[in-house]
Amino acid sequence: MKALRINLKILGIIQGVLAVALCFFVLLTGKLNLQSDLLSLLPQETNSQNSEAETHFFAQYKNNVVFSLTGDSTAQSHEWLKVKLKELGLEFETLNAPTLTALAKFYSQYNGQLLSEEYRAQLAANSPLSPFVFEYLSAAINPILDPFFASQPTLSTGKFVESALSSLPGTLKQDGEALYIEHEKGRTFVIVARLPEYASNLLIQQQLVGEVLEVIEELQQQHNIAVGYSGIPFHNVENAAQAQTEMSLFGSLSVFALLLLVWVFFRSLKVIWSASLCLLVAMSYAVIAVTMVFGSVHLISFVFAITLVGIAIDYCFHVIVARNESKSAQQQVFRAIWFGCISTLLGYSAFAFMPLVFLQQVAVFVGAGLIGSALTAYSVLPFCIGNVKSTRLLEQCGQNLNKQITTLRKPVTIAAVSSLVLFLLTQTPIQFTDSLKLLSASSAQLNEFEAKHNQLIYGDSHHRILVTAESEQLLLEQEEQIIARLLNNTDVRQISALANWVPSISIQKQNQALLSDYYQTADFAQLQSYFHTDEQSSNADYLTLEQALVSPIAPFISANLMRINTRYVSVITVVGADAIEIDKQLSNLNFAYRIDKPAQLSEIMQHARENLLIWLACAIAIFSVILLFKAGLKAALYGGFSMLLCCALALFITGMLQGSINLFNVLALVLIFALAIDYFVFYMQRGLQPLNTMAVTLSATSSALVFGMLIFSQTPAIYSFGLTVMVGILLIYFLSPLMSMRKL
């Protein structure tokens, strides 16, 4: 027996040392990548092809940043800022727009095949084109049409290009290379830039963004000018800084508070050291597991995962408190610890099935950490702590608590049930809100800049439509179908699509036929009499996307066209039309849909939340059935009812405090369920023994402290999670002693 215990101790030490050494190796060699990219938080969607297209489309903009300058001497400040940003390595988003001469030279190859909507409607109605030509000739100058007039006096190609240029989204005006918008107080200049590719690394991005903010600060101090900034990199850096602060603060405060708790009740450095060792091994297991499974971890996962500290230490408390008890009592404790570990693991396993990758990271992190903690508590801790000093203080506290528990058992139960009834009568139906904003800790100022820049660049609200097809021509035809529907049935102001620049071959053929017919008319004969040039029907090849992508118009189309496996995907930008109107026009088209990332992600989170609630109800039912077989009907009823009561009250209370419930409140219920099983099992196994009561009290206190710290987080998801767990733990702590009469 002694040999077995020594072997266990040696194995425990070996596993602990290995775990800690490996953890240091992982951290020092940088094998674990830290992420703060907001895009990587997005839930995974079931339609992977569309998801891939959207990811590809949005990824182009992940390094984009926008600056706006408003105030005095904005023109000079704009130039100064551009120079400074260039010195820092930023690249500028010049469209590399072709000259009008280059456009005319390119499109003139396809004279006779390209018509604007206006010209097509005119020709289809057998109406003359001469008024358009005379209007052009009556204008003093028209720099867009001038280069086209020499090669095609009817201006059919020129009008097509003029129409395409006017479809480019954006309200910004251009003065040389400067983008600006006029308002009554002058001009607001806008700079669109991009961080270099090497700045995708979090540390480099943080440094670069910091330097950019210093430059902005310097500019604002020297001049009476307000500089706005926006873009995903700024959000990433702000959220990363917040997460790092919270991680350090909550982590260190949690550890300090727990060790203080240990000191208050045990007054032993050996016990503190042993508990710290347990936590260190737990964290080492967690870091190794998440590195092996994911290779990288999002900073927000770390903030959630700090809660491992509060749960891992529970095992220490139970072992330490029972150290001076009989061997059989200690064996009971170990069985209860393993049972509790498994139940908590099962609770966190629900996270692994969530569509949010960072929750899967939390599940692996905490799960591995709990296994490490349980192993260490079981194998090494008893030898480390030796004989615990007199637990008289603990026993006295435990006895006092038991008296209170026994006295308050009925009133607490009645109060809990009454509260539930009151909530059911006054707080139903519960409001649910799930949105991506829950995951963002960006400051109000940054969100304000983001909204302002969207307004500056796009003006009216804009929407994007994703179109997919098996071939280029089909893609263009589908775009044309959508454009026609939107123009005829909505209040759309502007549509930017590939088909604006490259009509489908079927449309080009129609255009050819319309123009050929027009060339036989008297109106054309009258126009021809003005010109030396003899305009004729075209025999040129048709314009295709393939040709366009290696032409001067490539910058206008390449960003909105993707090839994913065998499919062609494009994005149409629509300005001015209502989302509902657009959805109505797309409702019976299976090749296109309006991209509404926030709404899609909210829907995914809503489904996850609903499934979790069902999962929870089933879990409570299964738990009750297990109790039924193990401890009888009354135990099953008490257990099931307490669990249900606790979860429902936790939901109602947090709903009242927050205003609505979200996915993270429900995730917290899963954890409360898992922790509640721990407390139930300990009370059912050991009843209201003073030391048991104290162990459960210390566990609940440590967990409430650690989870309670999360309510100070600036990230709404973390706040919601922490609040519900804290409320739930307090409720379970008062309700779980009901189980002390029922023995397993």
């Binding site: 009008l100 100058i141 720099p143 007039f149 020499a150 006096p153 480019l168 030396h532």
Partner: protein, 183 residues
Amino acid sequence: MKNLVLFLWLFILSFTSQAEAELTAKQAQQILQMDHTELQTRAGTFEQKKYFKVLKRPFVSSGNFDIKAGYLNWQTVAPIQSGIIFDDGTLYLINSKGEQKVAPKAEHFAHLLVALLQGDIDTLSRTFIFNQQSEKCISLLPREQAIAQAISLITICSQGKQQQISLFDTQENRTDISLNYAL
């Protein structure tokens, strides 16, 4: 040797000539005898002739105009009704059916056109280099590449209440605009 000296002399002279020919805004105003304040609120008639290489004969159009501070109404009456309205920073085009719409991507040229017609030499001096062409005429060369792509040269000649503006594009086409300011 003599030829070399002559060549050097002419070479140096050409620089000084250029330096002397480049005018300030004030000098340009004096040559044209234009009072910008007076021209800020004016009305009158115009005749425009387009000499495009592709046209067999000049295209002639005529109409009337009305200018106020920050506002221009340019109405073509013959051979076809059409118009341009520039109001509060936005350029509108009116077609032969009387439909009005915002001009696409041409605001920068709209500002230039309004400045030209208003005789706003100060605004024009930021975009063009002035040179004296004759006693009552100046030429304007674009400073910016973006303008030079569309306009290679402008000449303005002024005599009393009449003004002649000629625009030359990069294809060697010319547009002559004759303005008659009403009393």
